[in-house]
C-alpha cells in the first residue's frame, strides 16, 4: 500500500518505521527542512520537503497513487484542510486525521474524514485513570476508544468483596470478562463470589467504567 504521512516529530518517524517494515511504501511530507533531511537519512521512504496543505506539493509527492493519507500535524485546521483536499481534489479514498481539540471530532467525522484519532481525549483519559486509581490499568480500547477493557484489583474494604455476582447490582451494559485469582482464571457466573485481591477484567463503555469500579470497589469518583 502507498501511504502518505503529513507532519513531523517522533510519532511520524516511528509510525513510518513500522509501516516500512511491514512492506508499505511510505511518503512523508514535512515543512521543516532540517527534519526532512534528518529522516531522509534514517528512513527508506520518500521524504518531501514542503507544505502539506499546498496541492502542488501533494501532487509532487505522489498523492494520485496514494491509498491512504494520514494527517498528523499539531494543528486541527491543517489536518482538516489536508484531508478534505485529498478527498475532494485528488480522490484519495481513505484519510486519517489526528484531532488535537476534542471538540473537533464531530466536525471531522461529519465532513467524512475516514478515521479520526482524538489524541487529547485518549491520552488524557489514560493518564487520568492511572494517576487517580492505582488499582486500575487500562488494557486496551477498541474502535478508537468506544469500548474499553480494564483490569481492576478488588481492594480489601470493597463493598463487593464476599458477595456473589448476583448480589452485586451491576448494570447489564457492563460485562466482567474474567477473574484472575492467585494466577488462575475464573470465568465469572452469577454464583461466583468476588474476593479481595481478585483481578477483574471489565469490558464496558469508557463512560461507564467509573460506575463499574464504584460498584465493585466503592472508590469515590
Amino acid at each position: 500500500m502507498q501511504i502518505m504521512l503529513i507532519g513531523g516529530g517522533k510519532l511520524i518517524y516511528h509510525l513510518a518505521k513500522n509501516l516500512i517494515s511491514k512492506g508499505h511504501f511510505v511518503i512523508i511530507v514535512n515543512k521543516d527542512r532540517n527534519y526532512s533531511k534528518e529522516i531522509a537519512r534514517k528512513l527508506k521512504a520518500n521524504i518531501i520537503y514542503g507544505d502539506g496543505s499546498d496541492p502542488e506539493i501533494l501532487e509532487d509527492a505522489g498523492i494520485y497513487k496514494t491509498d491512504v493519507l494520514v494527517a498528523l500535524t499539531g494543528k486541527d485546521h491543517e489536518n482538516l484542510f489536508i484531508c478534505m483536499m485529498a478527498q475532494k481534489y485528488f480522490g484519495v479514498e481513505r484519510t486519517t486525521a489526528l484531532v488535537n481539540d476534542p471538540d473537533n471530532e464531530f466536525l471531522f467525522s461529519e465532513l467524512g474524514v475516514t478515521s479520526i484519532f482524538n489524541i487529547t481525549d485518549l491520552l488524557g483519559s489514560l493518564i487520568e485513570q492511572n494517576v487517580v486509581y492505582e488499582d486500575i490499568s487500562n488494557l486496551l480500547t477498541l474502535e478508537g476508544g468506544k469500548l474499553s477493557v480494564t483490569q481492576y484489583i478488588i481492594p480489601d474494604d470493597a463493598p463487593a468483596a464476599g458477595k456473589t455476582l448476583k448480589e452485586i447490582d451491576l448494570p447489564l451494559s457492563i460485562v466482567l470478562g474474567g477473574i484472575i485469582r492467585d494466577g488462575d482464571i475464573v470465568i465469572p457466573r452469577g454464583s461466583t463470589v468476588i474476593k479481595s485481591g481478585d483481578k477483574i477484567l471489565i469490558i464496558s463503555l469508557p463512560e461507564e467504567q467509573a460506575m463499574a469500579i464504584k460498584i465493585l470497589g466503592g472508590e469515590e469518583d
Binding site: 496541492p55 486541527d76 485546521h77 491543517e78 484542510f81 483536499m85 471538540d103 464531530f106 466536525l107 465532513l111
Partner: protein, 136 residues
C-alpha cells in the same frame, strides 16, 4: 441583522466599522486584543478575544444566532475550518469567506450557503476591465 466577523485585520476591522455605522448588530472576533485597535472610533459592536477555532469562543460570540458570518483571517485553512464549523455545527444560514490563494477556491465550491471572495481575483478582474477599456 446580526453579523459576526471573524478576524479583525485590515479587512475585518474596516468592514465591522462600516456595518456597525449602518446600524447592524456586529460582533468581531480575533485572537489578539491588540488588533481591535484597528477598529474605527464609530464602531459600537462587541469584541470577542479568543481562538476562532475553539467551540467555546464561537459560542461566546453567539454565532448560532448570527444571520451572516464573514470569515476574513489571512489563512485559508483556518477560514475553511471556521466555515465548516459555522455550517455543520452552528447552522449559520449564510457564510461569506475571504480566500487568500485563489487556487483554494475549489475547496469551498458546492458548499450550500457559502459565498467566496478572493481579493486577488477581484483585483485581476478590475485590471483586465481597465485595460480592455483603454484598448477599446
Amino acid at each position: 441583522m446580526y453579523i459576526v466577523i471573524i478576524g479583525c485585520g485590515r479587512t475585518g476591522s474596516n468592514l465591522a466599522g462600516l456595518l456597525s455605522q449602518k446600524g447592524h448588530d456586529v460582533v468581531v472576533l480575533d485572537k489578539d486584543t491588540y488588533s481591535f485597535n484597528k477598529l474605527p472610533v464609530e464602531y459600537s459592536g462587541f469584541k470577542v478575544e479568543g481562538d476562532t477555532l475553539e467551540h467555546d469562543v464561537l459560542k461566546n460570540a453567539k454565532i448560532n444566532t448570527a444571520d451572516i458570518i464573514v470569515v476574513t483571517t489571512g489563512d485559508d485553512r483556518i477560514n475553511y475550518m471556521v466555515t465548516q464549523m459555522a455550517r455543520e455545527i452552528f447552522k449559520v444560514p449564510k457564510v461569506m469567506v475571504r480566500i487568500v490563494d485563489p487556487e483554494n477556491t475549489y475547496m469551498f465550491e458546492d458548499l450550500a450557503s457559502v459565498e467566496t471572495f478572493s481579493p486577488i481575483n477581484l483585483l485581476v478582474d478590475s485590471f483586465i476591465k481597465k485595460i480592455e477599456r483603454i484598448e477599446g
